[in-house]
Symmetry: C2
């Protein structure tokens, strides 16, 4: 994409939040969707007191349990402009909070897209956040608990391994980084434990969400890259556009033809060439996009540094220029025929 296109998008960017008009919703709410019932047996019954001084009670985990559902919160503007709902899918170790207020208190992408008239569905994937997690032995293995230093070094906030220091003043943030590192602790609090063995369950629940809410546009980030492409391959008629923000993995290379009618935008931030992991993940993405195009599809690549936008981390929806990036995505969506009015 050319720089003139980017400049036009940024010129249309709204005024700062303080000057913005109210958010007017015809409705807002939430639901859970997907999942299955399992029957647990052979576990001990616990004798507990749920409150101090309260009556004794038994907790029996045996019997039917509902597992592997997901949580969805929706905001429906009074004056919709999106022709379809917009679904926001978060990355690994995160929840829908990704798209809410930034760690330093600025508006996030959720408010941005609601204000532009998208019926917006923000969610917590299976075993994250308000989706809850299953009793032992339903998922394989244990969740992982990366230390506080991990996302600093892994999400292109700091300059890779060793860049985190307990003393904020001694952390080696990437030069020109747009991440609001003064609020790094607030970002770390957004992270939640995750299992590494639940991809199939997560995808199944996302497909259940599609079956309930779509046709729609889907925006995915990081881990959700694979879910976005695979769900679109499973329901190609229901997905009217797909925005992949730094997808960490992609879809089934044997089924790329299913994606050929879906407009796709892939967005990548800065510092990828100097990272230990991201050159590989981007190359995987670009190879997959080539396969889609060889099958007759179309993938627009938005490389932010090539477009003159510098300093974006993997968490570009909370970087200081997060609304500039959102405006580029909005402009791309608005230019797809039939998506926005």
């Amino acid at each position: 994409m050319i720089r003139g296109w980017v400049i036009a998008a940024l010129a249309a960017l709204a005024l700062p939040a303080a000057a913005e008009p109210p958010i007017v919703l015809r409705d807002m709410g939430s639901f859970h969707v997907g999942g299955r019932e399992v029957v647990i047996s052979g576990k001990p019954v616990q004798e507990v007191r749920r409150t101090p001084g309260g009556p004794p009670a038994k907790v029996d985990p045996n019997g039917p349990q509902l597992v592997e559902h997901m949580y969805v919160q929706y905001f429906l503007p009074a004056e919709p402009h999106g022709a379809y709902p917009l679904l926001l899918w978060h990355g690994g170790g995160l929840t829908g909070v990704t798209y809410e207020t930034t760690p330093d208190g600025r508006p996030g992408w959720l408010n941005f897209f609601i204000r532009r008239g998208w019926d917006s569905y923000n969610s917590d994937a299976v075993e994250r956040g308000r989706a809850g997690f299953a009793p032992p032995d339903v998922f394989s293995g244990e969740p992982v608990y990366p230390s506080k230093s991990d996302p600093f070094e892994r999400f292109r906030i700091g300059a890779g391994a060793g860049s985190y220091d307990p003393d904020p003043a001694k952390r080696k943030q990437l030069p020109g980084s747009q991440f609001p590192a003064d609020s790094y602790d607030d970002f770390v609090k957004q992270m939640v434990p995750r299992w590494l063995t639940t991809d199939d369950a997560i995808l199944a629940a996302y497909i259940a969400e599609i079956d309930r809410v779509c046709p729609c546009v889907i925006l995915v980030h990081s881990q959700a890259g694979q879910f976005g492409f695979r769900a679109a391959q499973a329901r190609p008629d229901k997905v009217k556009a797909l925005v992949a923000v730094e997808p960490a993995a992609v879809g089934d290379p044997d089924r790329v033809a299913a994606l050929k009618a879906i407009p796709i935008l892939a967005v990548y931030g800065d510092y990828i060439d100097q990272d230990a992991r991201w050159p590989t993940m981007r190359a995987t993405g670009l190879a997959f996009f080539g396969q889609i195009e060889a099958a007759g599809g179309k993938v627009d690549r938005l490389d932010l540094p090539q477009a003159g936008i510098h300093g974006n981390s993997h968490m570009m929806m909370m970087d200081r220029n997060n609304l500039e990036v959102a405006a580029l995505i909005q402009k791309w969506l608005a230019e797809r025929p039939g998506l926005y009015r």
Copy 2:
């Protein structure tokens, strides 16, 4: 309270949701608050692949970790009528979803109070939902995973032990129950695992929320009864009113004088006399209220069946008459001097 007062409140109840005007917000967003940093050591480093076919990575849980914070989502009406923010605190094994859309898709108490002009702060307590949970050994013990039958029998939806049946047609719901039992699975999906050893951490985070957001009005349910009364005892000048919906436990009986200037409303639903546990928990509450009044305070009791409102379960914010109950709480709040305009 007299029945005429209740009838007046219900007469003021809004039209059904379909006829309601838009929700107009000057802002909405979220943050995490509270918690502490711990240093984990001696745990094994895991070799993982975060995505299928992705690059190998190490997950090291050792080092600093942020734990015991909570999640808060806020909705600020464009035309506020509450003189203070309204904080909504959920019960055990639940999250802020408690106050969102009911399991059968009707508006919940969150939308009700936002529409009445309350700056509303809905939250997930420590180790629930979007608050995330800590690595092993930070909390004592393991979380509990009650079976699907447990809330049916324990929350006065069914007629106690043995009332749940895998076949919905064979479940023994309490006669006249207002709970939307056809959507029971959707309610069970709202439940999340909980630890039984985190009361102190939960209270500390709630006090951190108060220190950030209040002065305020606080509405608590079930497990949060103890947190509401104890937080008010810790910050009596910050809590301008307290609504305790079926508190499962209460505050420190040695510090009731701290509550004497705080208007308090306690709400109880139906079927308590025939329940195995609730007569004890209600008696604990009523005894505590007597102590508050002996110290010069005031506690209004709203016993719904005595007021002519029948059929309410422990989850009255999602019962079919949930907005009738909310209207009684709203009327009580509006009648307290200086709370509503």
